[in-house]
């Protein structure tokens, strides 16, 4: 009797597990499809299930790889002791300095700082107000750190970042000089040389 119960229990377990796997991957496949009427009909429960533990996106350079190089430029209001006034420094490209070591040594820790630059530039340009706010906050954090290094030992009042988006020319114009590429810019305006309020609040 006990043997029989064990046998049926094992059969149930096997079907429960493999059935569960089948259902999970059926849902994962549906979640990964482009928008379609079936996905639209079950969107709420599907996303509720998938985005709890299994959120994923495998577009990986699809449908198209990005065709813009984003970079950051920084300026700051720095105290000039000789003239007894705040002066605005020239724009400095902070992304180029981060990229150069990566181009020489392929496995480089700078890659993660660069990821932060690019993510901040991307979010800052977003149509979503929340993303733009996060992007601005990240740019401020990056700017404070970089300004501290660039204008070491000097009094800094405010920082300002310009995200630059350069469009890669089409393949047939691949020899075009980078100075002739189409450039778009977005400016943060002056930001305090101190962490933002929400960041401090998060720390409490």
């Amino acid at each position: 009797m006990l043997q029989k119960a064990k046998k049926y229990f094992l059969i149930s377990w096997v079907f429960l597990m493999w059935g569960g796997l089948l259902i999970h991957f059926a849902l994962t496949s549906l979640y990964l499809t482009p928008n379609n009427p079936l996905k639209e009909n079950v969107k709420f429960p599907l996303y509720f299930y998938m985005e709890s533990l299994f959120s994923q996106n495998w577009k990986l350079f699809a449908p198209n790889p990005t065709s813009q190089n984003a970079s950051l430029e920084l300026t700051a209001k720095v105290w000039d002791e000789s003239h007894r006034k705040w002066i605005v420094k020239d724009w400095v490209s902070i992304t180029n300095e981060t990229i150069r070591p990566i181009q020489t040594y392929r496995l480089n820790k700078n890659a993660y700082i660069l990821d932060l630059h690019l993510k901040a530039a991307d979010k800052f340009r977003s149509d979503s107000l929340e993303s733009e706010r996060i992007g601005r906050q990240m740019l401020q954090s990056i700017a404070i750190r970089e300004a501290k290094e660039i204008w070491k030992g000097q009094r800094i009042k405010a920082v300002r970042v310009r995200a630059v988006y350069a469009t890669i020319p089409p393949y047939e114009k691949r020899d075009q000089k980078s100075s002739e590429w189409r450039i778009e810019r977005k400016d943060t305006g002056w930001m305090d040389y101190s962490p933002q309020k929400d960041q401090k609040e998060g720390m409490k």
Binding site: L10, V14, F61, P65, R106, L118, Q196, G202, M203
Partner: protein, 319 residues
């Protein structure tokens, strides 16, 4: 039929692949965290670029992680160093059921503490670590091996249930990697750059991936750009069909491994490539690994044979 399926399911499979994945994932994470050791505070610390406020305000999938317990720097430092210790234990194969669970919890926490630096590879790693918590990843290459009971008749009900869970977990890892390729391939088919065969040019031209001297040479070879663009789609879309074929799977694996080695160097995406190649280790069964071991042994014998003959030859010369 049902009985055969139950028996098939009750014996742990793909044990060598599961152990190899464990070792690779542990090495990947150790390298990643040690590489970023000097800038850990910047990436995950309370004063990091992805602020603690941002972390708290993002929904984090509605699930708590270790960073929710404290915003203090000391707590962060403890978590960081503890994670490295856990990864070493996982790598060495010590109590892999427990360390596997801890690796998932810690990695989940670091992943959501700063999602801005996590790419597709890390996303896959997060999912696979979740599945691998239910698998026996410590049968091989482990200091305290989780030895499977080979004789199915001697197994208790609980052991059989654990074996079923293991098989489902390793199958989940395999299906996940197949889905990654298929989805990536299908979405690429829809892209105009992939259709006109120039997508690889744009990817190589991004300054974060640029390798001076090498990438320029590649994108100036029109045939190579077109071949690499179309070849990538072909490999990715065909991968699920090829991988289930007993012979074609070797070609499919050779294709994707070559693709990832190329990506690692030309686009500097080492961790992404390493994670993808490591994940593919589950796609070969224990029999395949034994065959590989035999080939390697034969190769070694051949090398020894040539070495010895060279020695004899020299000896004769000296005489």
């Amino acid at each position: 039929m049902i009985q055969r399926f139950i028996e098939w399911s009750s014996k742990e499979r793909l044990l060598i692949g599961a152990s190899l994945i464990r070792v690779q994932f542990a090495l990947i994470l150790l390298t990643f965290f040690i590489l970023n050791y000097g800038q850990r505070d910047l990436l995950w610390g309370p004063d990091g670029i992805w602020s603690y406020g941002n972390f708290l305000s993002s929904h984090n999938n509605g699930i708590l992680n270790l960073f929710h317990f404290s915003a203090s720097n000391l707590f962060f430092e403890i978590l960081f160093h503890l994670f490295i210790v856990i990864l070493v234990l996982y790598l060495l194969g010590i109590r892999t059921r427990l360390t596997g669970l801890l690796v998932f919890i810690f990695f989940w926490s670091f992943y959501y503490r700063n999602p801005a630096i996590m790419n597709g590879g890390m996303n896959l790693l997060r999912l696979e670590l979740l599945y691998l918590m239910f698998a026996n990843t410590g049968a091989y290459l482990a200091l305290t091996p989780e030895k499977p009971v080979r004789d199915i008749m001697k197994k208790s009900l609980l052991e059989k249930m654990i074996a079923v869970l293991h098989n489902v977990a390793v199958m989940a890892v395999a299906l996940q990697i197949i889905l990654v390729y298929f989805t990536a391939g299908i979405y690429k088919v829809m892209g105009s750059y992939w259709q006109d065969g120039t997508a690889v040019y744009y990817a190589l031209r991004l300054h974060e991936f640029y390798w001076p001297g090498v990438n320029d040479w590649i994108w100036n070879q029109t045939w190579l750009v077109v071949l690499a663009s179309y070849g990538t789609i072909l490999i990715q879309v065909m991968f699920p069909a090829f991988i289930v074929h007993p012979k074609l799977k070797y070609f499919a694996l050779a294709g994707v491994v070559s693709m990832h080695i190329g990506i690692a160097f030309t686009m500097s995406l080492f961790f992404f490539s390493w994670i993808m190649i490591a994940s593919e280790m589950i796609l070969l069964n224990d029999e395949d690994y034994r065959k590989i071991k035999q080939w390697l042994r034969k190769l070694k014998e051949l090398a020894i044979y040539f070495r010895d003959h060279k020695l004899v030859f020299r000896y004769e010369e000296e005489k």
